[in-house]
Amino acid sequence: MSAGGGLDARVEVPGRLAADLRADAGDVVAVVGPNGAGKTTLLRVLAGLLDPGPGGHVSLGGRSWTDPPVLPRDRRVGYVVQGQALFPHLSARENVAFGLRARGLGRAAARERADVELERLGVGAFGDRRPGQLSGGQAQRVAVARALATDPDLLLLDEPFAGLDVGVAASLRVELARHLASYDGVALLVTHDAVDALTLGTRVLVLEDGRVAQTGTPADVAAHPRTDHVARLVGLNVLRAPDDPGRLTAFRPSAVTLSVAEPTGSARLRWSGSVEQLTPYGDGVRVAVRTTHERPVLADVTAAAVAELALHPGLRVWASVKETAVTRYPATADG
């Protein structure tokens, strides 16, 4: 359906983002990172709304979009912006038909195709409604239908689940996964959610402070987070060994044991520290223990354990973890 091809981009927007990105047709690149990391900047550069910067370039399927520059309207990009930005004065059907009409399709044919796209996204019954009369989930589906209707070679989704009710987001996630699996172009999915990144992405790109902090397959990123942000995202403790800053140590908070007395027994890593914070987590409690490391060690314990140890902020405790529950890996991919 789309002419397709791999994406090759280098972005150097001064003060905002410096990143390289390579992806093959059929790839879904999950872009994660804290606010202000440059995620939306990356999408805007790829769409052609921002200049890629002095040393930057973008090409898709071997055809350059930056030398000579190609206008956004001549790139075949489907861009679902955050907040959808459906045209408020047009019905859902007219919104989806807009791109087809702009690319020269006749009115009747465009409306027909728009109805097909709306039907595919499960909002076929709402074609006559204005965006103001749609729920958040319906509006997001219309926005995705509008982007897909023009058969884009590159699909950009900026936080498609943001601001949706949990249930609505869950069902949209399932459908989007289906559409992304059958999509043969390159897709980029910006998300805050580790689950989205790890389940929908075929590759993960972590941006922090305008740089690429980590990139790899979802399994690799989940098992070997290289920054605190990724570690928190995937729910792991990641510590840098004081004697060897080039190596990282990762372990699950549920593998950590807390005790008031120094734990005995061999093959255990142990840290002494004070309880910093207690927060409900799942059906237990997540305890943050401040140690000599830059980040607190997180431990998931049962409510019974909290009561038994009389855990409260400021209490001196020992956190320990079995050597067998720890993975060690270099801090950089090529290290």
Binding site: L49, R73, V77, Y79, F98, G99, A102, T150
Partner: protein, 270 residues
């Protein structure tokens, strides 16, 4: 139960309430006096005198043409100011809004300097084509457009900026040219501002006097608008002057009502 006039902060102080009452009386009294002084029994007779009908016709025609000129020329100017980044944009915006605060008679003198028989553009125009603008109905429309267009441009530019560029960007990613985007997205979204600007321009045109008499003169049947006629006949025909004034007052109230209606308020808050 507390009354409506006293709030939990205490009674409004007399030092503020008394001047406020004075100001209200000052603003309302002349309008009441005009309504009382209007010769209602002969209202229709005054209205149907040939000179008054001429003034009405010229005012209706010129204010309508002024709005059309604003739509055709002012909308593109507002779009350029809101959407095109170029050196001197701030200066251009400042310059085109000068007529907003210029005394109307000065606007008239400026128009004579530019388009008068021996004006900067007027003289070559006359030499080349034999056309002279001053003291024609075209001159009335030019004078009105000169003072009214800034209101229109400011209003539409504001609406374009409020609507934001996001929709333009989305349209562009969907493959639309800038012209298609303007027609199908930008302009429809700025429509409340276009309507508000048109109403403002029309109201400004309706009451325009200084620039008109200076540049277009005050010839009954040719360039005499309602305000010009009111000024002309106030001494000799106060009844006629009051009748015309009453019509303009009613028009102004209608404008005010239109500006308060749903369309325009959604435009302001969108």
């Amino acid at each position: 139960m507390t009354g409506r006039t006293t709030s939990t902060l205490g009674r409004p102080p007399a030092v503020l309430v008394v001047p406020a009452a004075l100001a209200s009386v000052f603003l309302v009294l002349p309008l009441v006096a005009l309504v009382l002084a209007t010769p209602w029994s002969t209202f229709l007779d005054n209205l149907t005198s040939p000179e008054v009908l001429d003034a009405l016709r010229i005012t209706a025609l010129t204010s309508g043409l002024t709005v059309v000129t604003c739509l055709v020329l002012g909308t593109p100017l507002a779009w350029v100011l809101a959407r095109v980044d170029f050196r001197g944009r701030g200066l251009l915006r400042a310059l085109v809004t000068v007529p907003l605060v210029l005394p109307p008679v000065v606007a008239g003198v400026a128009l004579v300097s530019a388009l008068g028989r021996s004006g900067l553009v007027g003289e070559p125009l006359r030499d080349a084509t034999g056309i002279t603008l001053p003291f024609t109905m075209t001159a009335v429309v030019i004078a009105h457009t000169f003072v009214a267009m800034p209101f229109y441009v400011i209003s539409v530019e504001g609406a374009l900026r409020t609507a934001g560029e996001q929709y333009d960007e989305v349209a562009s990613c969907l493959g639309a040219t800038r012209w298609t985007t303007f027609r199908r997205v930008t302009l429809p979204l700025a429509l409340p501002g276009v309507v508000a600007g048109s109403v403002l321009a029309w109201a400004r045109s309706l009451g325009e006097f200084g620039a008109t008499v200076t540049f277009a003169g005050n010839y009954p049947g040719a360039t005499q608008t309602m305000p010009s006629r009111i000024y002309t006949v106030l001494v000799n025909d106060p009844e006629g002057a009051r009748t015309l004034s009453m019509i303009l007052l009613l028009s102004s109230v209608l404008v005010l009502a239109a500006l308060r209606n749903r369309w325009l308020t959604t435009g302001a808050s969108a």
